[in-house]
Symmetry: C2
DNA sequence: CCCGCCTGATGGAACGTTCCAAGGTCCGAG
DNA sequence: CTCGGACCTTGGAACGTTCCATCAGGCGGG
């Protein structure tokens, strides 16, 4: 009633366990007859190699661990597609654990992955302390996606948040807006860079006095709350650049509650170009991040480390503006 | 430069490896002094137990494999939350692999999980052949979510699709609709049951001649195509029951292209009550599935099997109608 | 004709744990 | 003073692979 092992296969095929092992990894110098006998035995017994035992001796598991901050955000679903594709092509299996954006749960996920002896770790939207990440990177190759790091052992894949935010804000300025507010993403990855670029761009266009940052989060509720607070002021903005698509949709929801519509009353720009933004119901103007490419690139960097590279790599991909129908000229 | 093992810890603490093992699993009958010494050594060396080696001898990994048909569908994100919660509470780590809805990739994911010797398998939205699933269930506990099975070794967690579809159709009938079409989900899990219940309900209300099933899929594009074909007929429906929320949003998109709005021109009902339906931009009337509860329940059934249960279990949870703003009386 | 080499095959050691049988120490009871 | 039994502690076997050293044949060249 127990699962067959390599010994059972060997016994049935009338060969040694070593020969079975050779057939499994189809090595040369095996006679066709014995090879066939072993393969027949494998089929008859329904034998499956035990990756646990193999990993113990080979000291590699063929598994990449992926930690995802917010698996409800479709942005990360696309990143996963890229990771999965590249990992599969390289013969690795990518397995995913969600962290729910909590540093504690993320730490637990990473610990479990280390116990399981994954060969590499991709952390998307990580909120773990930098020293913790550096400690992990001393054990196994770590690549951060959407978050940067100063550690020489940690590679990163980012989009150019500074450039992306500038595209968004200048698009609004180009449409004639001046009172442009920003819904902040807090300290989560991408948040500070986008906010700073918003401020820099506003100043560059002599709009420093129109600057207005509403504390938000990378969530629908965060975006809605921020928008409500903006609407409660004496002079609400005519345009809002939200830290990401999900927050932008939350902001649009808050506008709807107040009887306002985009772009008629207020223009809205998101960030990510997730599938949410492309929805016929949203048609959100947003900044495109090359999501799949980021996933692929992250795996690429892990593979390079496994191949022996030691210098740190930081890959920055270019974002692009996607104009849909939540932006237009200011009212009046 | 290699990771410390239990022997290194033992050497440093001046005890045997067996004693270290006892401390790790904090067994009784270990003197406080030695326990402290071992713990100190563990901390100094940064030792982490090797789950691979442990699994080899204990013959269990503490890992549950979750295969997800469509990780872009937020319905499954909620199921994952339920799975993760219950698994963590029971001391298991749930790891996820997406299958992209392709039977081939799903098969590969399952094979990899079997090699990794997961202790149990949860398959959500599986499209694998029944005999293949039964074969897997002979090796490891398998629970299907949203799909049923006749195999006595495979447990299932479902919502009552028949009841859910009836709620949707009768809601539309109650609003006065008669030309009610259905956007089909094909043979994917849930599709046939919802279609059959649509037909049964229509007949029960003497609307057999109004029945109209448009071939679709559980995707946005599937919903859009089906709606376009419905709109191209001589007498388009005044209401549509779509196989799920994603398809419903696709259908709404197609309506928008044609200059139509819901519920003014055509009422739309989805299925799942995923976060997509609740979006302020959608406000989709839909049928609620208890998504988190389904995830929790699935793990519960795996745990029972691991505990020795042999009889098959089939858990059917009740759906409920959620009325939002895509349904109303027929036009005119 | 023998030596060396190549091909094909094999047994045993190792990987890092857990588990088990057994050994040592110490204490209290007889 | 001895002995049984807690209480601690230990070495070795096992888990199912891979890898290495080795070996049996067969064959070509000196």
């Amino acid at each position: 009633m127990t699962r067959p092992t390599i010994r059972d296969v060997a016994a049935r095929a009338g060969v040694s366990k070593s020969l079975v092992s050779l057939v499994l990894r189809d090595a040369p110098h095996v006679s066709p007859a014995k090879r066939a006998a072993v393969q027949a035995a494998i089929a008859e017994l329904g034998y499956r190699p035990n990756a646990v035992a193999r990993s113990l001796v080979s000291r590699r598991t063929g598994v990449l661990g992926i930690v995802i901050a917010d698996h409800h955000n479709p942005f990360f679903a696309d990143v996963i597609d890229g990771v999965d594709e590249r990992a599969a092509a390289a013969g690795y299996a990518a397995v995913i654990r969600p962290s729910g954006g909590s540093a504690a749960r993320e730490g637990a996920a990473v610990d479990k992955f280390l116990e399981l002896r994954v060969d590499g770790l991709v952390m998307a939207g990580s909120s773990l302390p930098a020293n913790r990440i550096a400690a992990v990177a001393a054990i196994v190759p770590v690549v951060l996606v959407t978050r940067s790091s100063r550690s020489p052992a940690v590679d990163t894949v980012l989009n150019d948040d500074g450039h992306g935010a500038r595209l968004a804000v200048e698009h609004l300025i180009g449409l004639g807006h001046r009172r442009i507010a920003h819904i902040d993403g807090g300290r989560a990855p991408g948040g500070p860079a986008r906010r700073k670029s918003y401020e820099r761009t506003m100043r560059a266009h002599r709009l420093a006095r129109q600057m207005n940052v509403a504390g938000g989060a990378f969530t629908q509720e965060g975006g809605a709350k921020a928008m409500r607070s903006l609407l409660a002021t004496a002079t609400p903005p005519t345009a809002v650049f939200a830290c990401n698509d999900v927050a932008a949709l939350g902001a649009l929801g808050a506008m709807r509650e107040a009887g306002l519509a985009a772009p008629r009353d207020i223009s809205i720009v998101g960030y990510d170009n997730s599938s949410l933004a492309a929805l016929p119901q949203s048609l959100l103007t947003t900044v495109d991040q090359p999501r799949m490419a980021m996933g692929r690139q992250a795996v690429e960097l892990v593979l390079e480390r496994l191949d022996g590279r030691t210098g740190v790599r930081r890959v920055v991909l270019e974002p692009g503006l996607i104009v849909r129908s939540t932006t237009g000229p200011p009212p009046g």
